[in-house]
Amino acid sequence: MIEVLYPGLHSSIQDLGRLGQQSLGVPIGGAMDQNAMHWANRLLNNPKHSAVLEMSFKGPKLLFHQSTTMVLAGADMNARLNGLLIPSYSTIEIKEKDLLEFGNANRGKRTYMAVAGGFQTPEILGSRSQFEGITAEPMLSKTKLIPFDVMKFKPSKGARISPPKAASKEIIISVYQGPDFHLLPDKAKNELRQNNFSISIKNSRMAYVLEEKLVHQIPSTWTAPVIPGTVQCTPDGTLIVLMRDAQTTGGYPRILQVSDDGLNCLAQKSTKDSFQFQLRAV
């Protein structure tokens, strides 16, 4: 068990989400940066869907009630174990009563913590990912205990890699054409290819609203399926990039679809960060 002394700004248990439940209107959900999640689990020899702790912007303060092995990946939150700085992308041995504290995120916005065997919070509709109305709690809260397996899996001791290039530094987000891209005027298509776009203050696990607008006359469409990474364009030209907790259907034209890599990169960006779209063929 881990005791949450302070939950951080927005921390939640996440795995790869609830693919398979979307015809009930259930969002897919899952870790925002699945590349970082992958490395955290991989260094522990965990199965790839093992639940991790996702920490955004400012991390939590945690007290371990059991010994385990853990790995941090993604943004750097100056994690301190009993007061001493510890590295990311490296297995760390944890003893009972160890105190783990995180600060503000650098080189990205979201940090992932995996423990040997993965977190064992209740699995609901095939996933442990926290979401309002599905799991008992929508995110991590104070005094909660997070259960994990004690050494059910044998972690690979001493496993580490040098931290990959920070996803937050990547300014190219690769995208595919969305089903309504062809309806855009040429000017708007060129702007999508050439201009810089930046993330507005309205950004969450559900969607990022961009600052820049696009002039177009595409009418709203009959409500149709959307997925994480779908870029919608509202009647006034506002661009909305749907993120992991996106709803399952929407009525705005779907002009782009962010690639899997692009979505993981965007997960490490936040308010005021800018980037360029790069269109590629499916």
């Binding site: 009930l24 595919y176 009959w222 149709a224 997925i227 259907t249 499916v282």
Partner: protein, 240 residues
């Protein structure tokens, strides 16, 4: 129609295909969409999930699709193949709704805008039968078709940040029930004690695409009684 084909085939992602029909939503198209989904799920083993909109389907695949052209031809053949599923008639659900002003904050203003009395508005709402087209937006949110012409109204300019769960509302050409607390831009005209989404149930939502829904006007007293049963877990929902 696209290139003489019944639907448009669009690759949105290496693992995701969108099929889009150019017609308006209709009960006929809905039954085509439902039966095509069944065909695909039984015949195309690469497809792991299908989601539905008014005039489109989204196919999720286990792996990257290799030969896109072949796949497109295969889906078109499957669509037009004689092999049909016996289309089971959807169920009919009666949903109790309390239209009492305590649960209907927008009833009066909506009635004025529609130039109807609140009583007529309510009667028109519960006299119609609605078809469940699909579930989306929120877990357990039914997209219902069949709102009487006289009740159609553009959605509110300022969305309400807190619509309570169970609220029955009208917006655009549609009516719907909020399965959980949520922001919303529709006019709230009543409340149902029924739960439209319970993640701990084997079937989290009792209704599905192809079913039909009818509203039944209940008093505040009846509402409170049913609400109590729901909280206790003794409220059983059965189709008519």
């Amino acid at each position: 129609m696209t290139n003489g084909q019944p639907f448009r085939f669009f690759m949105m992602h290496p693992k995701i295909v969108i099929l889009e029909w150019e017609s308006e939503p209709s009960d006929l198209l809905l039954s085509e969409l439902i039966s095509f989904q069944k065909k695909i799920l039984s015949q195309v083993k690469e497809v792991i999930q299908i989601t539905q909109g008014y005039c489109s389907l989204m196919l999720f695949h286990k792996n990257k699709i290799d030969n896109i052209e072949d796949y497109q031809v295969r889906l078109h053949r499957l669509y037009t193949s004689k092999y049909r599923f016996t289309h089971k008639k959807g169920k009919l659900w009666q949903i109790p709704v309390c239209y009492h002003e305590d649960y209907a904050p927008d009833l009066k203003s909506l009635a004025i805008q529609l130039n109807l009395s609140p009583k007529t508005l309510i009667e028109k709402h519960f006299s119609a039968q609605y078809q469940v087209y699909f579930i989306g937006f929120l877990p357990g949110f039914l997209y219902l078709n069949g709102l009487p012409e006289a009740l159609k109204i553009p959605r509110k300019e300022q969305p309400n940040p807190h619509v309570p769960r169970g609220s029955v509302a009208i917006g655009g050409k549609q009516t719907g029930i909020y399965p959980m607390n949520s922001p919303g831009g529709w006019y709230i005209i009543g409340k149902t004690p029924y739960s439209f989404f319970d993640p701990n149930n084997k079937e989290p939502c009792f209704a599905q695409a192809g079913d039909a829904v009818q509203f039944q006007s209940i008093s505040k007293k009846e509402y409170l009684k049913l609400e109590e049963q729901r909280i206790k877990g003794s409220l059983k929902i059965k189709p008519l």
